[in-house]
Amino acid sequence: MKITIENKDAMSVIRLADTSVILAQRLAEMCSNGLTLEEDIALSNISLDLFGRADELYKIAARIEGNKFTPDEYVFHRNEREYYNIKLVEQPNHDFAWVIARQLLHDIYAKELFTQLSTSSNHEVAGLSQKVLKEIKYSYMHSHDWTNRLGLGTAESNERMQRALDHLMKYVDELFNFDELDKKFIPDPEKLKAVWFSEVDKILGESNLKRNAVAPPSMRDFREGFHSEHMGHLLSIMQFLPRAYPDAKW
């Protein structure tokens, strides 16, 4: 099956959907691996929100495309190079600090992005954005709180959180390399960038953490379907069942 995405608005929506589903999958890997029962439930709940968000976004994209494909087909039948998520969210759950740092950097991005999209001229995108902002509020509360705790906790927790941030920051540059599609779809891209940096700096500052200058990896942009080495492994697990057993039903 060859999945095609013709319409430019559909492509912009697919980028959001891909970022949601890949982060959802990463967080789902934490289910039953949380450090406490409450934390396990929290991460699984945030994962569920992201899967739900992705599902609604794929449906919107599918409608723009004339319902040629279903959300499941977009998710399970595209290869690595046909995915358009930001590389930040495909980074692995190396340790709990990575999970939290990745979530914080994503939540701040998602919060401003969906705030802007809640006034989108596409009514479905606007309606969904208003809805997901309520969910992002809870996720952000969680990642913000843990960033404070890890940053201000012990020397060990601070060091590990800093290490996670230093790794993940490498994947931030591409977020703001806006292309023509972004400039058409996102109401104010430059504000998205400005808000992201000021909010990240504020939270890291209050947590005794730093935004160190890091060299971005020599990789091409997620908008062209380029990924880090982790993406293929993630997909191989996520897509195995529907590809091995194409008619499998829940």
Binding site: E38, E39, I41, A42, S44, N45, I46, L48, D49, L50, F51, G52, R53, D55, E56, H123, E124, A126, G127, L128, Q130, K131, V132, K134, E135, Y138, M141, H142
Partner: protein, 156 residues
């Protein structure tokens, strides 16, 4: 909760469907069912619903339960439309519905999650244990007065 005078018999029928996770309230009270339209000339019913939480595992189940309920009364030609506008909110829950939740041991949503009441001793001296609970719509709380652990229905 929506009030629509037309097709009262269908609204009544769909009021018999309990929420799969919180059976004490039904899908009409929850505000999931937005609009019902009967087209006798086409022998067809159109039901418009809106999702509560995007990741709610009951989302698909809602549709199945509606189809099942209508089929049980002989309505087989049913179309379900899912719409995102207006955005579902816990503000739509009536005081009566909130009272039902409290009786069931679930603290009902309050604006900005500010005042959370213990369903057992009714004290508002309570604390959040975890923002995330047993379902996507609930948080875990505990009462500082009677130590009761309970679920709080998040304000959305």
């Amino acid at each position: 909760m929506v009030t629509q005078k037309e097709f009262g018999h269908l609204w009544e029928l769909l009021s018999e469907i309990p929420d799969p996770e919180i059976p004490v309230i039904n899908l009409v009270e929850l505000g999931v069912i937005r609009h019902i339209e009967e087209k006798p000339d086409q022998d067809k019913i159109i039901v418009t619903i809106t999702p509560t939480y995007t990741g709610c595992p009951a989302k698909k189940l809602f549709q199945d339960l509606i189809l099942e309920k209508l089929a049980s009364k002989g309505y087989h030609n049913v179309e379900i439309i899912s719409q995102l506008f207006p955005v579902w909110s816990t503000d739509w829950l009536t005081d009566e519905t909130k009272e039902k939740l409290l009786k069931e041991g679930i603290s009902p949503p309050t604006i900005g999650d500010k005042i959370v009441q213990c369903p057992k001793c009714k004290s508002t001296d309570t604390k959040m244990v975890s923002a995330f609970g047993s379902t996507p719509c609930q948080s875990l709380y505990t009462c500082n007065i009677c130590s009761e652990p309970f679920n709080y229905f998040k304000c959305y």
